[in-house]
């Protein structure tokens, strides 16, 4: 595709070329932009324009709180004129309840929060684990503290949610725990390590023991030096080759490991977390995949990753701080309209914002919100089934065993392995069929107030169309779209209500709805 084809600014989706400050008054966000745009210039890639307010609004909501803006929120933001409106919106979103819900879901994927098979946490434990994560995210607990508490946890799986870290893995042997720790907190895949390195890390987890109690399915995680049958602990070595000074006969080796891991200068932890957060917001890590860091998989922009790592460490591992500086960057706010042919180089260097299909939970919540309907979720564990109150949102489900066929169809991760790639955001014909023609979606659309109340809107069709556009796509319709709706109304059979139904249906089936863009 020739760049010339994209020369004209598309005001619906774009607001103008990117601008950032340099020099003394440059913010962290400006420095991000400088590093990204400098790299793009070296590569002779023209970055996209900055996206329009309408695109930003929708992207920010869906990315930061996993929630569709309401009609009122969309109208309010799009009528705002103050120059700081985007920064203000970011601050508001970071404070929303949905923020905690949505990022608890994300952590639930990485920490494998699921009652049964093959993780086997049991519902009480899965919910205790979720509550612990939720409290941490809601209070913006510094991430090093969050991880510290997880890694040295002892106690009952039903009472101390965080001990479930040691239970939420398929292989609870010292090597299995070590591999999980490497994946989750170092972003490395231990199956690519030499055996010696894994054994050395396993030494820190060889004294983790489990015992059951009189209560059905309760399990105590505790420190027991005699649990180390293989004598791994005395050979424990940190991944950087240094050795702990602790005495494994009396000391819990997890403590020196955690102290080593969470030092601000330790590249693995802060770097991995900063890269993951970038990937969560930008759709792709600077190291890609974000949980596959290794020497032969270098970052696409090392200086950028250094900056993010530093910002994360000096903010005392403050997730919201890192979010805020990324979200306020022009890089995050670039349009999805490319300036040239898309290649892995343009993707890896963030030349424009990628199209990302809404996650399963976010999509069903969005459909429910705009149609005023609800969903039933159930868990088959334990028998008899647990039915979940209908006002619970998809992003708020506390346990991976609680599900619906919709969530499975749209790629909700099974939470078996903790890999980021477990979440499937690809599209399929079966998904299209569901959105286009399932009784599930037809029913939501036909019951939705936008449709049922449409009868009263006769005489002011444009108002109705606008309302539907703001509710579904968070923006007003264009002249061309208004004309297309009129043409459809003129050409077809139907009254206001059917037209409203067709329009809601057609908009939820637009790529603009299905994808974060």
């Amino acid at each position: 595709m020739a760049p010339a084809a994209f020369a004209a600014l598309d005001p619906l989706y774009e607001s103008g070329p990117a601008k950032y400050r340099m020099g003394a008054d440059a913010t962290a966000s400006d420095r991000i932009d400088q590093l990204v745009f400098d790299r793009l210039r070296e590569l002779k890639i023209e970055p996209a324009n900055v996206c329009s307010d309408a695109v930003f609004l929708r992207r920010a909501y869906l990315t930061v709180i996993g929630t569709l803006p309401t009609e009122e929120e969309a109208r309010a933001f799009l009528s705002a004129t103050d120059p700081d409106r985007r920064a203000r919106l970011i601050d508001e979103l970071l404070k929303r309840d949905e923020f905690a819900e949505y990022w608890t879901m994300k952590w639930g994927d990485l920490l494998r929060v699921k009652a049964e098979f093959p993780i086997k946490l049991w519902p009480n434990a899965a919910q205790a684990y979720t509550r612990w994560i939720y409290a941490g995210v809601r209070g913006n607990k510094p991430l090093h503290q969050f991880v510290h508490e997880l890694l040295v946890a002892n106690g009952s799986n039903f009472r101390e949610g965080e001990v479930n870290f040691y239970r939420a893995m398929q292989d609870r042997s010292p090597r299995g725990i070590a591999a999980t720790v490497a994946l989750t907190f170092m972003g490395e895949r231990a199956d690519k390590w030499p055996k010696k390195k894994l054994d050395a890390l396993a030494g820190f987890f060889a004294q983790v023991a489990f015992k059951s109690t009189a209560e059905w399915k309760e399990e105590i995680v505790y420190f027991d030096p005699t649990a180390d049958k293989e004598g791994l602990a005395k050979n424990a070595v940190f991944p950087d080759g240094t050795r702990p000074t602790a005495d494994p006969r009396t000391e819990d080796m997890r403590v020196p490991f955690v102290n080593w891991l969470l030092r601000p200068e330790n590249p693995w932890f802060c770097r991995n977390m900063a890269n993951r957060m970038w990937a969560w917001l930008m759709g792709r890590g600077i190291i890609h995949e974000p949980d596959d860091s290794r020497a032969d998989n270098p970052p696409s922009n090392p200086a950028l990753l250094d900056l993010l790592q530093r910002e994360f460490a000096t903010s005392r591992c403050n997730m919201k701080h890192l979010f805020r500086i990324i979200l306020n960057s022009q890089t995050f706010q670039l349009s999805s309209i490319p300036t040239g042919l898309e290649t892995t180089t343009t993707q890896a260097n963030f030349a424009w914002y990628p199209l990302r299909r809404m996650e399963a939970e976010v999509l069903i919540d969005a459909l429910n919100q705009l149609t005023g309907t609800q969903e039933s979720y159930s868990s088959p564990i334990p028998e008899p089934y647990t039915f979940i109150p209908e006002n619970v949102r998809g992003i708020g489900l506390p346990d991976g065993s609680i599900t619906s066929s919709f969530l499975e169809l749209f790629g909700r991760p099974p939470r078996d392995t903790g890999f980021e790639s477990e979440r499937n955001r690809s599209t399929s014909a079966a998904q299209r069929l569901h959105l286009l023609n399932s009784s599930h979606v037809h029913q939501k659309v036909s019951e939705c107030p936008l449709v049922t109340e449409a009868r009263d809107m006769k005489g002011k069709p444009d108002e109705l169309v606008k309302k539907i556009y703001f509710t579904v796509l968070s923006r007003p319709p264009t002249e061309k779209e208004l004309a297309a709706v009129t043409a459809h109304a003129d050409a077809s059979y139907a009254g206001t209500r059917e037209i409203a139904e067709d329009l809601v249906w057609a908009l939820v089936n637009q790529p603009e709805f299905i994808f974060i863009h």
Partner: protein, 461 residues
């Protein structure tokens, strides 16, 4: 905290909980994780319209499709395929006059006259056993062949879909594993193979004037309106216009074309039973089960590897004989029409039909209140029917004792029946399944698993 209010007390737990894992089954190997995509990324990303699969020719006599008639709840073996009139009224109740079939010496229940006329086309196993009397556990045993303590194995439909589905060259939009019309619900089907191998549940009622197959046929939306909506949908695709050539959007356009091929094209017409002649529809019986059998034949004809007819209502603790009088004629007519029709079309050699529930029922009629002539669960001994796909007809495998209470000779365990079906499908017993923990796992349990076996069904091969 109001977001996560669903803590349950562990006192609600029952022994069956172990089995509950069967519902959350998912694969975990990395390879599997990458590949996971409902209904098969490989198949659906192909731009070809629906086609009959291009599979390698199988050796003669080998099956290409399985139609499983699943009698959920547990049908009574004595009233169907293993009558015991000489055990007396206490056992046979009012159904004490079994009928001769067209195979000499082989009798079946008196409410199955159509099946009696074609007994040369199927065989009966009268010595099925697993000893379990719980619906979920027994349904799992019969359909996976395993009694798992730790893992959740896939059903034979999911395994067939794994070996005969998209990865094996199956093409087109019709999913390779279909259940008419509702999933079994309290059984995961896919086990550790994961959601990709779950059956597509049609929903709807094939006996209704419009068979509203979920996602394919939307009642109340005419073809004309579907077409107008499709045109409208395209006319307002503003983002698509702003991103010409975008690879992600191209994929979704392809997905959409495939979906519309199902909704408006030939694939959707496959589910339109009005395309069958009236007398054909009559022959199968104008009820949900009969028309499901007809639909199953249409799917087998198109090469769909595994079709389950989930026929509910056989859990007859009460009202047993009333239910038999109502349901057995439906079963008789539908299944006999299916086997005969497949045979007349030359499809029986390549299509296995098997009919079973999760167990049999108490041979002795429960006359006391509140059962008043009901029958309870009986996993020690029950009967299954097997036809086509290279299995001989007119044979009886094994036998039960005089009262139908115990296996008398030649026990057939679920793994034996399932393993024999795999054999006819050309899936070798030693083919491996992707076990979540990497444990070497064969399709048919080997000796190390200590699964009971009476040997494959060599006598009818």
């Amino acid at each position: 905290m109001n977001s996560h209010p669903f803590t349950r007390s562990s006192s609600e737990v029952r022994d069956l909980n172990r089995m509950a894992a069967a519902f959350g089954g998912v694969p975990v190997s990395r390879r599997e994780t990458m590949r996971r995509c409902l209904y098969g990324s490989a198949g659906l990303l192909l731009m070809e319209p629906f086609t009959v699969r291009a599979m390698q020719p199988l050796p003669a006599g080998r099956a290409r499709s399985v139609i499983q008639i699943w009698l959920w709840g547990g049908p009574c073996h004595i009233d169907t395929f293993d009558p015991k009139p000489e055990a007396g009224k206490d056992y046979s109740g009012q159904l004490d006059a079994p009928i001769a079939t067209n195979v000499s010496g082989m009798q079946i229940g008196q409410l199955l006259p159509e099946l009696a006329k074609i007994a040369d086309k199927y065989s009966l196993i009268r010595s099925m056993t697993h000893g379990n009397n719980g619906h979920e556990t027994a349904a799992y045993l019969v359909q996976t062949g395993r009694s798992s303590e730790r893992d959740v194995f896939p059903s034979l439909g999911a395994v067939t879909s794994y070996f005969r589905g998209y990865e094996a060259g199956y093409k087109g939009l019709i999913p390779p594993y279909i259940v008419l019309t509702e999933p079994q619900g309290r059984f995961s089907e896919a086990g550790f193979l994961g959601p990709k191998y779950k059956p597509f549940a049609t929903g709807g009622d094939p006996a209704a004037s419009v068979f509203a197959v979920e996602g394919i046929i939307a009642p109340g939306i005419s073809e004309k309106r579907q077409q107008e909506r499709r045109k409208f949908l395209r006319s307002i695709n503003t983002l698509g216009g702003a991103l010409p050539g975008n690879a992600t959007l191209n994929t979704i356009v392809q997905n959409e074309e495939q979906a519309y091929e199902m909704i408006l094209g030939d694939a959707g017409k496959l589910f339109d039973l009005n395309q069958e002649a009236g007398d054909v529809r009559d022959r199968y019986g104008r009820n949900t089960f009969g028309q499901s059998c007809l639909m199953a034949r249409r799917l087998a004809e198109k090469g769909v590897p595994y079709i389950t007819i989930n026929y509910k209502g056989w859990d007859t603790h009460k009202q047993h004989f009333q239910t038999m009088n109502r349901k057995l004629p439906e079963l008789d007519k539908g299944m006999a029409a299916l086997i005969s029709d497949l045979s007349e079309r030359g499809l029986l050699d390549s299509t296995i039909v098997w009919c079973s529930g999760e167990f049999g029922r108490t041979p002795k009629v429960q006359t006391e209140s509140p059962w008043n002539g009901g029958r309870h669960h009986w996993g020690k001994c029950f009967a299954s029917l097997l036809a086509g796909g290279g299995f001989k007809g007119g044979q009886v495998v094994g036998s039960s004792d005089a009262k139908g209470e115990e296996v008398k000779d030649r026990p057939v365990y679920p793994a034996d029946l399932i393993g024999s079906i795999y054999g006819q499908l050309g899936i070798p017993a030693e083919a491996t399944l992707p076990h979540p923990l990497g444990t070497l796992t064969h399709v048919v349990p080997d000796k190390s698993e200590n699964v009971p076996t009476g040997g494959m069904l060599k006598e009818i091969l």
